[in-house]
């Protein structure tokens, strides 16, 4: 199985027997929420659609998997979402088969999808890889696998001696503590479960990866291995173990 990292997504192409293009956390309709909080931007749903279409055209996948939080408004879809999401989904559907694993913001998202497209929110296995949004305990059947998840909007901030030089969407890869997740113990070559946290497709959201690791807020983030977790940039560049990024003190001698 090969992973292609598309930085202009960010998106992940999982190439096994099938080609699965994965994107997470589009949070369409976020502008309405920002509006309520005093920030007034125009809707960028169209731009996100175009960006996603470019990814599709570049990768020619067999399936586009929306890994949750397609929409943003809770507890119910906003007027903006009602206006924009149907066309958005229809446009994608015309290019490639769709699948959606609903996330915590996906209240009433079912109305925009067809029966075969809706996948279980506890997680689904496609072609030997597990997918889940990331806000819940993953289904037990996902044990021992590579679990690709969203929800955490990982963003890394690189600092040098004088401050933040780079803020970028990032991936967090970590082995998981099976017992912590309530997974049954297994023997055999399956090995430990691993998680690959994907960055958000939405360009306005982002949450410091260090905070996720130090102050976990979800079952998956609580069961990460701090010692072994690794960070990659959205283009697949390997940055290093999380410990290398953590607590870099500019005033310490290297």
């Amino acid at each position: 199985m090969i992973l292609e990292f598309l930085s202009q997504g960010p998106a992940l192409l999982v190439k096994g027997k099938k080609r699965v293009l994965v994107v997470a956390d589009l949070h369409l309709g976020i502008e309405s929420d920002l509006d309520r909080h005093g920030i007034h931007f125009r809707s960028r749903t169209k731009e996100r659609c175009e960006r996603l279409e470019t990814c599709i055209r570049e990768t020619m996948p067999d399936l586009l998997l929306l890994l949750g939080d397609l929409k943003h408004g809770i507890p119910f879809p906003s007027r903006q979402e009602h206006r924009e999401i149907p066309d958005f989904v229809e446009q994608l559907r015309s290019l490639v088969p769709l699948g959606i694993v609903p996330g915590n913001h996906d209240v009433a998202v079912e109305q925009y999808f067809e029966l075969g497209e809706l996948l279980p929110k506890e997680g689904v296995i496609i072609d030997g890889t597990a997918y889940v949004h990331g806000h819940m305990y993953p289904a037990l059947s996902l044990a021992g696998m590579l679990i690709i998840a969203g929800h955490h909007h990982p963003m890394v901030c690189l600092r040098d001696e004088v401050g933040c030089s780079l803020r970028s969407p990032a991936y967090l890869f970590s082995p998981l503590n099976d017992a912590c997740l309530g997974f049954p113990t297994r023997e055999g070559e399956k090995g430990r479960s691993r998680v690959l946290l994907m960055p958000s497709f939405n360009e306005l959201t982002g949450y410091d990866i260090m905070r996720t690791v130090k102050e976990p807020f979800s079952p998956i983030s609580r069961c990460l291995s701090r010692e072994e977790a690794e960070v990659l940039l959205s283009d697949g560049t390997f940055l290093g173990p999380i410990q290398a990024l953590e607590g870099y003190e500019p005033d310490q001698q290297p």
């Binding site: 199985m1 090969i2 992973l3 292609e4 990292f5 920002l34 509006d35 909080h37 005093g38 920030i39 007034h40 931007f41 125009r42 590579l146 901030c157 690189l158 600092r159 040098d160 001696e161 004088v162 401050g163 933040c164 030089s165 780079l166 803020r167 970028s168 691993r194 690959l196 360009e203 306005l204 982002g206 990659l232 940039l233 283009d235 697949g236 560049t237 390997f238 940055l239 290093g240 173990p241 290398a244 990024l245 607590g247 870099y248 500019p250 005033d251 290297p254």
Partner: protein, 896 residues
């Protein structure tokens, strides 16, 4: 025939009551002009009866023709709405039976209601409150009676966005009342005609200026560079004269000097941070003679006519000619008397600067006030204001208003861009060419009447000592503070532990290069012309031509002689000197703050791009200090300067500024004026980093650049200077650190990060590889292995046991492979392992340290390491190759 005799008898009576036997010169010239209905600019220093010069003839016309309230608007910035002026005007009004009211942000509701119901003939108000008048349905009606508008301190308004906003407001007024008479009161400026055009657009106007310059008597003295000696000089000088005003440039200095002179008992401190009662008390006591001297930071804050001032001391260079003229102009009683003032220079730079400023003051060479050019955020604010005022208004109608102003005439394309942008933020709605108001617009105006940006203060709480140690400007916190950041305040280093509502929690940090908080806006930039003349003076050393005493001359010549003795080159108006010091390279350039700021940033971004390092810069009027690693020397900086094409400076700066704190902060401020962000918005939700992206290529971003490049740095002058270098009119020399270079106060600090995010990634990679644990194993004798980190390995690792250089580099988890490969009896698998280790060691043998680094990277075995090494790249390029190889490994690695 005196102009008095044409005035209404009641006014003549008042004049006699006030004790004026005759009018002042400015009053004599102004009154007939105002009486004839001319638009007028009146130029005179404070305390010369400027207000009366304008108001007496206005009162006269008001008496002759009563129209009902508001007949006259007297507009003044709130700061100068002083008690004395109010008292005087109120007195006149009550004597003449003219009703008067004051209206500004702090006016009580009851008073405002009264004014709406029964509008006073004379309304004293601020530019911001004028904006509010357009919004009130009842108040608007009263505007139709306006016949006279007097604008006080117009020189200050004209140079700022507040003035741009006011100029549109004046044209909006026309819609209610038709043309009215305009009178502007100004301090001495270099370009009075432009002030008139700013006030009147294309209309006619006259200028009446009082030549007060001739009456200035200015000397420059020097008392050494120790504060104690300087304070002693001040004390002695107070004794020499009578009542003295001492002007200093910062509040901190005012407090320090006040403290030093406290023992005298007749000196008080007066500045804006003190409470009103304290200030009034000081003013009264000065006027009564109870105290002899007042230490102040700005003449604006002095509330009343404080009586006779014998002498003015300017402590330290005043930086600008207009500032000096204004301050010394306060001395002297009547207009015929001489205004006496002395500048006490505090150091070498200060001395030369003071000499130059004193000469210019006496020659009348005062700085020009430059009104902003088409500021887009003011336009946004006013379009929103017009939308609320009219509900619906066509772009053509808006353009008609704008065309009558000086600042905005002909800006049709900008208007289109601005309307599109604010429509995007739902501040207005566009129906074709009609601008329509929205629900939010009124609320937006209520919070954005003013173009002044509210700077919130954020408290800094020290966890260790458990107390608040100071405050930071909101702009700085927004731009640069994050958990883990290190900064300096009150001379100490702090690390941020937490950020919360209006407060950051910190702990003391150790020595580091950190971002510094911005100064509290008290640094005045030295203009280019003055810095150039200082440079010329350094070159020709003709100090005696500059009206100063022997001691000062002696000091200046002596300093330069010392430079000569040390064989140090002296930077002048025809020479730039670049000096090496341990931690920094200092470029001595006599060009003033704004040009140096532009040059400094260009040099740093170019250095950064060439050498891949972050560069810290500090600027003053005569130096640019670059914090650089020791490998980068003055010669490198010189190469950059010599190779710099003046035409590229603007473009380079645009790129460079994008990632700075200052730019992001400005962007946020301007975005607020465009209605994108509410004043109380929780924009922590959106990092400023994202905001920069959202506004890419919009009119918001363009305005941020425009403001930065005109207010904070001077791109054109920097380009001009570089052109001089190219033509050979200005030389560049290198030198060791000199006493001149080592001087200097640093007024602004910022850090320039390398231009590409790549740098940050590469630094991270370098660090990671340096710290990567590895095992070195000798493939020759097979008897030696050692645990170490890649960074510590020598250029050509060798085995201490047998001396061979055939060393394999293993990751810690690969260590067992070494034992396997060294077994006496090996199966085929183990032989393959041995072969791989041999390949590994061979690469180390031929590639040395570079091979070690490559092999320490993630997932790179001998084949990939070999490929990386064969690219024959060095430095950052080498690390980029390693990144590429790692990326490839990540894609394909099996144990996903």
């Amino acid at each position: 025939m005196s102009p008095i005799s044409n005035l209404d008898p009641r006014i003549q009576a008042c004049i006699r009551t006030r004790g004026f036997e005759e009018l002042s010169e400015i009053q004599n010239r102004a009154i007939p002009l105002v009486a004839s209905g001319r638009n007028l600019i009146l130029i005179a220093p404070t305390g010369t009866g400027k207000t009366e010069s304008a108001m007496i003839p206005v009162f006269d016309r008001m008496l002759k023709e009563r129209t009902g309230g508001f007949t006259t608007l007297y507009i003044t910035p709130l700061r100068s709405l002083n008690r004395d002026m109010l008292q005087r005007l109120s007195w006149w009004c009550s004597e003449l039976g003219i009703s008067v009211g004051v209206r500004h942000g702090d006016t009580k509701a009851a008073e405002r209601r009264k004014q709406a119901l029964s509008p006073p003939d004379l309304l004293i108000t601020t530019p911001e409150t004028l904006q509010a008048l357009f919004m009130g349905k009842v108040l608007r009606k009263h505007l139709k009676n306006v016949r006279y508008v007097v604008i006080d301190e117009i020189h200050e308004l004209a140079g700022s966005k507040r003035g741009s906003q006011l100029s549109i407001a004046l044209e909006r007024l026309i819609s209610y009342t038709g043309e009215f008479q305009r009178i502007g009161l100004s301090a001495t400026v270099g370009n009075p005609d432009e002030m008139g055009r700013f006030l009147c657009g294309k209309r006619d106007f006259s200028v009446v200026a009082v030549p007060v310059i001739k009456r200035l008597h200015i000397t420059v003295e020097f008392a050494g560079d120790s504060f104690e000696r300087q304070a002693k000089w001040v004390s002695d000088t107070i004794d020499r004269f009578g009542s003295t005003l001492i002007f200093v440039n910062t509040r901190v200095t005012a407090e320090a000097l006040g403290h030093q002179l406290f023992y005298r008992g007749d000196v008080e401190v007066h500045h804006g941070s003190l409470s009103r009662d304290v200030r009034i008390d000081a003013e009264e006591r000065f006027k009564s003679g109870a105290i002899k001297a007042l230490i102040c930071t700005s003449s604006m804050e002095l509330g009343i006519d404080i009586g006779h001032i014998e002498h003015v001391i300017q402590f330290g260079s005043p930086r600008e000619v207009s500032r000096l003229v204004q301050r010394i102009g306060r001395a002297g009683h009547q207009l015929h008397a001489i205004s006496r003032g002395t500048i006490l220079a505090l150091g070498f730079d200060d001395l030369l600067e003071s000499l130059v400023i004193a000469r210019r003051a006496k020659a009348g060479e005062v700085e020009d006030v430059i009104p902003p050019r088409n500021p887009a955020d003011v336009l946004a604010n006013q379009v929103a204001g017009l939308a609320v005022e009219y509900g619906r208004i066509s772009k053509a109608a808006i353009m008609a208003i704008l065309d009558r102003t000086y600042t905005f005439s002909g800006c049709g394309a900008l208007l289109d861009d601005v309307c599109t942008q604010i429509a995007e933020h739902r501040l207005i709605r566009l129906e074709g060419d009609i601008v329509c108001t929205t629900l939010r617009a009124r609320r937006y105006l209520a919070g954005n009447l003013s173009m002044i940006h509210d700077e919130k203060k954020v408290h800094v709480f020290d966890m260790v000592s458990r107390r608040t140690v100071g405050t930071l400007d909101e702009s700085f916190v927004v731009g640069s503070i994050y958990t883990g950041a290190v900064f300096i305040t009150k001379g100490q280093l702090w690390r941020v532990l937490d950020i919360d509502e209006g407060r950051i929690t910190v702990e003391p940090a150790r020595r580091v290069k950190g971002e510094l908080p911005s100064w509290e806006g008290e640094q005045i930039p030295v203009p280019y012309g003055i810095a150039r003349e200082v440079g010329a003076l350094r070159r020709n050393r003709r100090f005696s031509a500059y009206h100063t005493d022997l001691e000062a001359c002696g000091f200046a010549s002596g300093f330069l002689a010392e430079m000569d003795k040390n064989r140090s080159r002296i930077a002048t108006d025809r020479m730039i000197v670049i000096e090496d010091s341990e931690e920094a390279v200092i470029c001595n350039i006599c060009a003033g703050h704004k040009a140096n700021e532009a040059l400094g940033r260009v040099i740093s971004i170019l250095l950064s791009a060439r050498f891949g390092t972050t560069v810290g810069i500090e600027i003053d009027a005569y130096r640019v200090l670059l914090s650089l690693p020791p490998a980068i020397r003055a010669s490198d900086v010189r190469d950059i300067l010599v190779g710099l094409d003046p035409e590229h400076i603007g473009g380079i700066l645009q790129l460079a500024m994008k990632r700075t704190t200052l730019f992001k902060w400005k962007l946020v401020q301007i975005a607020k004026k465009f209605g994108a962000i509410d004043p109380d918005a929780d924009y922590e939700r959106l990092s400023t980093y994202k905001l920069t992206e959202v506004f890419e290529n919009t009119v918001v971003q363009k305005e941020a650049y425009r403001e930065l490049f005109s207010v904070y740095m001077d791109v054109n002058t920097a380009a001009h200077l570089m052109a001089l270098v190219k033509q050979g009119d200005c030389a560049i020399e290198r030198s060791r650190l000199s006493i001149l270079g080592a001087q200097g106060l640093f007024s602004s600090r910022d850090q320039i990060a390398p231009p590409t995010p790549d740098q940050a990634v590469i630094s991270t990679l370098r660090r990671r590889i340096d710290q990567q644990e590895i095992v070195l194993a000798c493939m020759n004798c097979r008897k030696w292995k050692s645990h170490t980190v890649a960074g510590r390995v020598q250029d050509q690792p060798s085995c201490p046991k047998c001396g061979a250089r055939l060393i394999a580099v293993l990751k810690p988890y690969e260590e067992p492979l070494f034992a396997l490969a060294s077994k006496k009896e090996k199966n085929s698998e183990e032989k393959a392992v041995e072969a791989r280790l041999m390949r590994n060691a061979n690469i180390v043998l031929s590639g040395g340290k570079k091979a070690v680094l490559a092999l320490a990277a993630k997932g790179i075995g001998p084949e990939n390491a070999s490929r990386v090494l064969s690219t024959l790249t060095e430095g950052d390029a080498f690390y980029k190759e390693i990144l590429k190889a790692e990326r490839n490994y990540i894609r394909t690695r099996k144990f996903w």
